[in-house]
Amino acid sequence: MDKHNVKGFLEFVYDFYRSMKAHEITLVYEGEITHQITKAFTSLTESNMAKQEESNTVQKKVFHVMVECLQNISKHADTFGSDDYLFAGRGIFMVSKGSEDYHVTTGNVIENRKIEELTDMLEEINSLDKEGLKQLYKQQMRQGRLSDKGGAGLGFIDIARKTGNKLEYHFLPIDETSSFFLLSSSISRTL
């Protein structure tokens, strides 16, 4: 980097820092989501929440949502290119804290052909009330076999049940074959 670029880069870092502060982002990560990463992030967030004296209920719910979100990425994020393993199981993961809620947000690449099925699943979950979600969870557990990747298809239902909120999601097109899938879950701090 020449001198001009260094300055530009450092200014970017400061802007980035200010954006993080403005959005109260307590954790942000981009990269491969492994089991070790999942363990590290959950224990870091747990100790932060304990320090802030969040209630046990809030701590447990945030923990649940984080684990399910991280496992969604590690098991279901698609590769960019045909068989570019470097992009498998990667994504962005973010935890932010407002005065009322915690937000756990994930983003990962998915193939366009999977969008319809995923949307149907998320819409079905969002259309159900507490009792409906409970029935769907029980039904999925009874019928759903573990996929070859070990996902039980229960993660989204569990997030909706634990938070009591709708799943907020969005797809942004990347190219003809893939899109970026964003999912945000809110956990009330006053539980």
Partner: protein
């Protein structure tokens, strides 16, 4: 019969399956990296135990956390116990939950709805 004794970690539960001392217990946290590999020996042990079980089996679940991937494997364990019960064996499931943990209490209720086996909910103070 062989005893299974697994010491718990921050992502895997403690497991004791001891036929002679009549201890059958899974406790702690369950979010193993590979749920199938972790639970396979437990399910295999139960298959063998089912061939010649004790006159009474009290199986205790004392979990503080499990992820959705583990929930399916826990159901597999309960279904094996249900099968033993259907075959005329005396089986009791004890589902322990921390007294302030409604989610864990509800999880127990849901399992008891799914499997047809005597099921007792027990609250305790952490």
């Amino acid at each position: 019969m062989e005893v299974i004794k697994i010491k718990g970690t921050d992502d895997t539960p403690s497991v004791i399956l001891d036929k002679d001392n009549e201890i059958f217990e899974i406790s702690g946290r369950s979010l193993p990296e590979d749920v199938t590999t972790f639970y396979e020996p437990i399910l295999n042990w139960l298959d063998e135990y089912a061939e010649n079980p004790n006159s009474k089996t009290v199986f205790a679940f004392k979990l503080v956390y499990f992820n959705t991937a583990s929930s399916k494997l826990l159901l597999d364990i309960l279904m094996k116990l249900e099968e033993m019960y259907e075959n005329g064996n005396d089986i009791l499931i004890k589902w322990y939950y921390p007294e302030d943990d409604e989610d864990m209490e509800e999880a127990g209720e849901e399992y008891s709805d799914i499997v047809d086996v005597p099921f007792e909910q027990v609250s305790y103070v952490l």
